[in-house]
Amino acid sequence: MKESEDTQMKTPVVLIVAIISQAIGNVFITKAMKLITSPVAGGDDLVSTVARAVTNPTLWLGTALLIIFFVLYSAALSWADLSFVLPATAFGYVLNVAAGHYFLSESVTPARWAGSLIITLGVFLVSRSGVRTIDTPQEIS
């Protein structure tokens, strides 16, 4: 297993930006969807709900952030193991719980805080296991 310093540096940066984009994106999308489907927003038929959705800037912003997440996630997979990237990005669940608590005033049960703690421990272990275990890139077929 040989990792360049470049790879060691950029993996955490790319994944941290990805996870933060995902957490903020989810908060925006939740906020927008709750607003779009609330009774005070207007008619609850499909056409007017969709019309409100596509004209909602918060929903677009949230979607853009989730696209940024997916692009960075895919980019990380171009050099890092899937078995590293996938559990590492699970830290996003912890951020989502915290963001839901602080920005959307969702109540967080003790089981959820416990789950967050266990995920954090798991991500810590995975992060100790190296970014890449396959040396040679696969040939382009």
Binding site: A75, L82, S83, A90, V97, I119, G122, V126
Partner: protein
């Protein structure tokens, strides 16, 4: 029975999607440029990569199975069940992509799986 089948599609579709996307991205090769022109060129190659496209199709199937199972099953049952995908995707990474899963990484992944299940409970 139908619920179990749909959850299997959600989990297996998501895992297969991740494995194919990784296969495609490894074919593209390590992205190490921040030059916009080169990044656009890479994006074009990614979007026309066969494995990447197959991966996206699997993920779309998984997502639509997820939406449809939620039309009759409880989210608090479906979401913890989908945390299984962490272990199944890791198995895919080992047997299909030949990544080496050390004990530490396996232990961490199992903890993540447990934690996600715990978070998803009502």
């Amino acid at each position: 029975m139908m619920t179990a089948l749909m959850i299997a599609i959600v989990v297996l579709g998501g895992s297969a999607g991740d494995v194919f996307i990784t296969k495609g991205m490894k074919q593209i090769g390590e992205i190490s440029t921040i030059n916009l022109h080169q990044l656009l060129w890479i994006a074009l190659r990614v979007l026309s990569n066969k494995n990447f496209i197959i991966g996206i199709v699997f993920m779309a199937c998984s997502f639509f199975a997820f939406l449809s199972v939620l039309s009759w099953a409880d989210l608090s049952f479906v979401l913890p069940a989908t945390s299984l995908s962490f272990v199944i995707t890791t198995a895919g990474a080992k047997f299909v992509l030949h990544e080496r899963i050390s004990r530490v990484r396996l232990a961490g992944t199992v903890l993540v799986c447990l934690g996600v299940a715990l978070i998803s409970l009502p």
